[in-house]
């Protein structure tokens, strides 16, 4: 098959996948009697038409950056981590335990501590599947799926039986102390001029941007990053070069789980202010779509996370104001994963004829 130029592979393939997913979604909307143009208008207006909409879009973007980066780091090591959802939920547990442990005086102290808690718990939840893959060869995809379910059951148990304060009906932890509340965009000097009403987007957004840079540095500027990428490209070559498979699998999965866990500072600490059931709300799974769409590069992950942030906020508004159910988001998410992750060969074949080297014509 014709090899595509790098820019086509990096930009054109995800874009065409997106167009295909959008086209099918539009057909589905038509099929169920909706108006796709109207739907897009409502989505754009709801997600990007006001500071309030932006506040939600960027809030979702923040979560998806973390889970997307998590999938990315594991992917470079050749590990497909579907466990982001469970790792994010455990990260939430870590955040809750840290926030409830002390009467935090100020968020600048609480945030670093909570980040450590989130990353540690997320990484711990990834550690068992990673160890089983590295040492016993148990397939990481299956074990991480199993760990998602075990995480959900564990969190339900802890919230109902252990962490719920006496006399409270709903299964959730007590509210975090005031000093552990992260400032939202409406409370940050400068930004508060734009975001006049309360929005869920908070300082975690900037942590997420730093995480993008950090992951880029890790993967392309450190020895460990080189080992991870080499191992992902060819197990046998990496082994021959003296790279330890056990070390690469374990470390890449721990970092991946830690990044997914870090998502919890955005939703648990930044937004809810307490740990609820199903706190990750599927963001762990969206990380898969974000990483695939973003071609497993931090910059791509940022852009794809923003796209899905738009899709999530816009989809919610669409569910509110039109007759199209909010579940359209899941359909788009599935289609994007399908085209970018499983049918990418088809997409490449579609555009390959345009890049075929021209035959020199005999004069």
């Amino acid at each position: 098959m014709t090899k595509l130029p790098t820019w086509a592979d990096l930009v054109l393939v995800p874009l065409i996948s997106l167009v295909l997913a959008a086209a099918i979604s539009a057909l589905v909307i038509l099929g169920i009697g909706g108006d796709p143009v109207e739907a897009v208008k409502v989505m754009v207006d709801g997600a990007l038409g006001s500071p309030y909409g932006w506040g939600y879009t960027l809030y979702y973007t923040t979560s998806f950056i973390f889970t997307g980066l998590g999938v990315t780091v594991a992917y470079h090591a050749g590990q497909f981590n579907i466990g982001g959802e469970g790792q994010a939920q455990l990260g939430g547990l870590g955040v809750a335990l840290v926030c409830l442990a002390l009467p935090w005086p100020h968020w600048t102290l609480a945030l670093p501590a909570a980040m450590v808690g989130a990353a540690l718990f997320g990484a711990a939840w990834a550690a068992v599947p990673a160890w089983l893959q590295a040492k016993r060869g148990s397939h990481i995809v299956i074990t991480t799926i199993m760990f998602n379910y075990i995480a959900a059951a564990l969190i339900v148990y802890l919230l109902v039986e252990v962490l719920r304060p006496a006399g409270q009906m709903d299964p959730a932890t007590p509210r975090f102390p005031k000093g552990a509340a992260l400032p939202g965009f409406h409370e940050i000097p400068g930004l508060s001029a734009i975001f006049t009403s309360k929005v869920p987007a908070n300082v975690t957004f900037f942590v997420a941007l730093l995480a993008c840079v950090g992951v880029w540095l890790l993967l392309w500027r450190t020895r460990l990053g080189y080992e991870i990428r080499a191992f992902g490209k060819s197990n046998s070559a990496a082994r021959y070069a003296g790279i330890s498979p056990v070390k690469v699998i374990l470390l890449s999965m721990l970092i991946s789980g830690g990044l997914s866990g870090l998502m919890a500072i955005n939703n648990v600490m930044g937004e809810a202010g307490r740990l609820l059931q199903n706190s990750a709300e599927g963001a762990g799974f969206i990380g898969i779509a974000v990483a695939l769409m973003g071609r497993n590069h931090p910059l791509g992950v940022f852009l794809a996370a923003f796209l899905f942030g738009f899709l999530y906020q816009g989809g919610a508004e669409m569910g509110l104001w039109t007759s199209i159910p909010i579940e359209l988001r899941l359909l788009v998410q599935g289609l994007v994963i399908l085209f970018t992750g499983a049918l990418d060969t088809m997409v490449r074949m579609m555009i390959a004829p345009f890049f075929r080297p021209r035959r020199k014509e005999a004069a």
């Binding site: 589905v28 099929g31 169920i32 009697g33 497909f80 579907i82 068992v128 089983l132 016993r136 060869g137 148990s138 397939h139 995809v141 299956i142 074990t143 799926i145 199993m146 760990f147 379910y149 075990i150 059951a153 564990l154 339900v156 148990y157 109902v160 039986e161 799974f285 898969i288 695939l292 199209i324 159910p325 579940e327 359209l328 988001r329 899941l330 359909l331 788009v332 998410q333 599935g334 289609l335 994963i337 399908l338 992750g341 499983a342 049918l343 990418d344 060969t345 088809m346 074949m349």
Partner: protein, 322 residues
């Protein structure tokens, strides 16, 4: 726990194990042919919606079943195209189709019935009714076995018996026919099958189609027999439990029966916390019972209780030599 309670739990074990068994056998065909399928969940969900919707419209559970199988086959075909023809990543394709199914089922059900993504409750012939096995009355007097026969074995819908019959049928198909031999070979060593002049592509598509049919029956059972109609996310992770059971059973039909019965038993117990407390004299959290199938699967995967070795060519697209 007295005998009557035990019989109740065993009867509900059989009811709850049926969709797991069907989905587990479904996965068995696909994975034995070398195509991983994480999308059992999505296929079941799609089939449940289609069968619930069509049964509600036509008033016939059988037409509903056919629609369910059709819907499941559609997703199976997509999975086949992505993973066989375009040699895409089978795991990603499965994950993607699960999301597509979660979204599409609610969208379609809402568009058809405007009942919040549900299908209307099914009554009469739109549901598979319980069947009484022969000689129930004659055997009633037999101690122990009589009540067991009447309450546990008899009184299920025809799909339950179909699922049970699928176990020996699958065993026979896999181990006693030429097709079965080739199917198992294509999952272990596709080159050898190709060398023998048998089409790898066609064998794998056939296996994926069989997976589609069985998932279709499983989904239709959920919506038209176990419950009366489709509700959003009604399969509730059963596709993944079936996947777990498949590993637990080490990709073998008879073991699949025992594994799904065990997981069905755990689900039945989770519905009766009072019985557990009465028997063990201690409180076992329901969450723990919910998580047990997954924990058991991880232990099996870890290779501590007999190693589970998947088909060797699983997950790898076949590229024919030229």
């Amino acid at each position: 726990m007295d005998y009557a309670t035990l019989l109740q739990i065993l009867a509900s074990t059989l009811r709850l194990a049926t969709p797991l068994l069907l989905a587990c056998l479904a996965g068995l065909y696909s994975e034995r042919s070398g195509i991983f399928d994480i999308g059992l969940e999505g296929k079941m969900l799609m089939a449940a919606m289609a069968s619930g919707a069509i049964a509600a419209m036509t008033g016939s559970a059988w037409i509903g079943l056919a629609a369910g199988i059709g819907a499941s086959l559609l997703l199976a075909a997509l999975h086949g195209v992505a993973s066989i023809t375009f040699r895409g990543n089978q795991l990603i394709s499965g994950v993607a189709l699960n999301f597509v199914a979660s979204g599409a089922t609610v969208l379609i059900a809402q568009a058809l019935f405007q009942q919040g993504g549900r299908t209307p409750p099914l009554t009469g012939a739109a549901r598979f009714e319980p069947l009484a096995l022969p000689f129930v009355d004659t055997l009633k007097g037999v101690p122990l076995f009589g009540p067991f026969y009447a309450q546990v074995l008899s009184g299920h819908s025809i799909l339950v018996y179909l699922a049970l019959a699928a176990v020996p049928a699958s065993w026979w198909l896999l181990y006693r026919t030429r097709f079965g031999l080739r199917l198992r070979a294509v999952g272990e060593n596709p080159e050898s099958v190709d060398t023998a002049g048998v089409s790898v592509i066609r064998l794998r598509y056939t296996a994926v189609a069989l997976t589609g049919v069985l998932c279709g029956v499983a989904g239709a059972y959920m919506a038209t027999a176990l419950q009366a109609g489709f509700g959003r996310e009604m399969t509730a992770g059963r596709g993944y439990i079936a996947l777990a059971a498949l590993i637990f059973a080490k990709w073998r039909p008879w073991s699949a029966l025992w594994a799904t019965l065990l997981f069905g038993f755990l689900q039945a117990l989770a519905l009766r916390p009072d019985v557990i407390e009465g028997t063990l004299h201690m409180k076992i959290p329901v969450s723990f019972l919910d998580a047990l199938p997954y924990i058991l699967t991880v232990i099996v995967l870890a290779g501590f209780v007999g190693r589970a070795i998947p088909p060797r060519a699983g997950g790898e697209p076949y590229v024919k030599e030229r």
